[in-house]
């Protein structure tokens, strides 16, 4: 063996430098140092800032109920995508109706998103999850604008409306939100989930069996006749009128929608959900969604699912729309957070005779 030598300073410095470099690189990758990033927690805290903290519930679209049914594909959709659910056949569906907002007991009489989330299942275990709203466009384009919108539109406890000065400044910087607000103000507010058209919001990449790519937005168009609500009378409506209506309607008879696949024209933007596709489009009618049964959040098999719109089957992929990753991330963070909390009692659990009301 060699005679013990004094600690070689150069080597010691090299070792320290290597370790420090790795540590710093890791801290940077994790976002602990360097430019501030918007992560899932930032989106959640913006949502909680706006709508309050409701433990055990989804941080957005907290008020809802589950349903079960099926999707019957006619096979026409295979012209655009090889996805299992577009091949001729019948696929079981679990889903959820919800209203926008973080309050699980909020009144239905609000001019907000009516939403339908679905999971279509294949025998192979493949799934196609969708989270759709009754508007063809979304208020904001990306996650930074979404966070800013939540912060700007926090209702003032005194008036129940956002602070006008804050909102004015926000709208000046985000004209696309004004477009959305105008749409909500002018457009018919559906009187039922059953008469609402539900839109994919984002564009997606469809790949057919040969690998050809098409950009598609889809929508579920209702069989039920659309009737508008009197927006001025909304505050006087019973708290749960919209959900009670769909419970009664489905108890009476199944409710159906047609899936329409809308193919992008050459000039359509596919990476910006704030912009509608205008004019005539090639539309493929791909099949029928039928809802047979409404169930409580506790029993209906939807409460413990994350309807992440990025969970897609082979044949459907994400577009370049930055909102898709943001939605996926925010839903995932909300799911992780509420999973660690005791699940909240659904607004209709008692009404629907839930067996496992927490």
């Amino acid at each position: 063996m060699q005679v013990p030598k004094p600690l070689p300073l150069g080597s010691a410095i090299t070792i320290a430098a290597v370790l420090l470099f790795l540590l710093a690189a890791f801290a940077w990758a994790a976002g602990w140092i360097g430019a501030r990033r918007i992560d899932g927690a930032a989106v959640l805290s913006a949502l909680e800032y706006n709508g309050g903290v409701h433990e055990g519930y989804r941080r957005a679209h907290a008020k809802g109920l589950c349903f079960r049914g099926s999707f019957t594909a006619n096979g026409e959709g295979t012209a655009l995508s090889r996805a299992f659910a577009l091949r001729k056949g019948v696929y079981p569906v679990t889903g959820r109706f919800s209203l926008a907002g973080g309050n699980p007991l909020a009144a239905d009489g609000r001019n907000v998103f009516r939403s339908m989330a679905l999971v279509l299942r294949a025998d192979s275990g493949e799934e196609w999850r969708m989270a759709m709203d009754h508007t063809p466009i979304f208020p904001v384009r990306d996650v930074a604008s979404f966070v800013a919108l939540q912060r700007a539109s926090k209702p003032d406890p005194a008036t129940g409306k956002p602070n006008p000065a804050v909102m004015k400044a926000f709208l000046a910087a985000h004209p696309e939100v004004k477009t959305f607000q105008d749409f909500m103000a002018k457009n018919v507010l559906p009187d039922s989930f059953a008469s609402s058209t539900f839109y994919s919001i984002n564009a997606f990449r469809f790949h057919d069996a040969q690998g050809n790519e098409t950009m598609v937005r889809w929508q579920f168009e209702p069989e039920a006749i659309l009737k508008g609500l009197d927006k001025a009378a909304l505050p006087q409506m019973p708290r749960d009128f919209l959900f009670r209506e769909i419970i009664d309607r489905v108890n009476d008879a199944p409710v159906t929608w047609q899936l329409k696949l809308v193919v992008a024209n050459a000039g359509d933007v596919t990476d910006d959900a704030t912009r509608a596709w205008k004019g005539p489009h090639h539309v493929v009618s791909a099949g029928t969604l039928q809802i047979d049964e409404i169930a409580s959040e506790a029993d209906g098999g939807c409460r413990d699912l994350n309807f992440d719109p990025a969970i897609l089957p082979d044949g459907v992929g994400l577009s370049d729309d930055p909102l898709l990753a943001a939605r996926s991330k925010a839903y995932s963070s909300s799911f992780i957070r509420r999973a660690g909390e005791k699940p909240g009692r659904g607004a209709f659990d008692a009404h629907l005779g839930a067996r496992s009301v927490p």
């Binding site: 600690l7 990033r37 918007i38 990753a325």
Partner: protein, 217 residues
């Protein structure tokens, strides 16, 4: 089996997995850190690499149990040898624990365990949100512990290589240097049992022991 260095296939696996594991830890904390478009991209590569690492870990453990490891340097204090032994057990345990926790976590969360488009693994746990929350925390915390252990491992390896200048680093390396002999030509001295693939590294000669490795002389 020789105790002069690790089996060549273990050396290859070590460096391949070192690259993948470090990438994976960076991808993992990276995808947690952002709600931007990078999130979807990182998530899409996280799972196939995770599965690959689980399979590589199985292969590595099997080879490791069959071919053994070089003897520890008895001139090191007992405490240090003990820590080294334990740290390697932890490193192996985490190589298995992290991908399995990820898989179990997705199962408990009611997610399809999509490895790549159209390629799924079966669920290994029943759908249970409380279990999901617990597994998700464990997956994240153990990943941080793994990174800390890897830093310690790299630090210790560098101490062996740069300060103690012993054979520990060489036992996992591909160089055929020897403290006493001039480097030999690269071919012709491969041990019979090492003759697979391209990564066969001859076992370095050293001055530390009884060396029953005639082919290396």
């Amino acid at each position: 089996m020789t105790h002069r260095g690790f089996h060549p296939s273990l050396r290859l696996l070590h460096w391949l997995m070192a690259f993948l594991l470090l990438s994976m830890l960076f991808i993992g904390v990276g995808m947690v850190s952002t709600a931007g478009p990078l999130y979807a991209i990182l998530l899409a590569v996280h799972r196939p690499i995770g599965l690959a690492l689980l399979l590589l870990a199985l292969l590595r453990l099997a080879i490791r149990l069959r071919t053994g490891a070089p003897e520890q340097d008895q001139s090191l204090p007992r405490r240090v040898r003990c820590a080294a032994g334990l740290s390697h057990i932890f490193l192996y345990a985490l190589m298995f624990a992290l991908p399995l926790l990820g898989w179990a976590m997705l199962s408990a969360g009611g997610y399809p365990v999509v490895i790549a488009k159209g390629y799924l693994l079966p669920s290994i746990l029943t759908h249970d949100l409380a279990a999901f929350a617990w597994l998700r925390s464990a997956h994240g915390l153990l990943a941080l512990l793994f990174f800390a252990l890897i830093l310690g491992h790299i630090g210790a390896a560098l101490v062996h290589a740069l300060i103690r200048r012993d054979n520990v680093m060489r036992s996992m390396g591909f160089a055929r240097s020897s403290p006493r002999a001039a480097p030999a030509p690269d071919d012709g001295e491969l041990r019979a049992e090492a003759g697979e693939g391209t990564a066969e590294a001859p076992i370095p000669e050293d001055d530390a022991g009884s060396g029953a490795d005639p082919a290396a002389r």
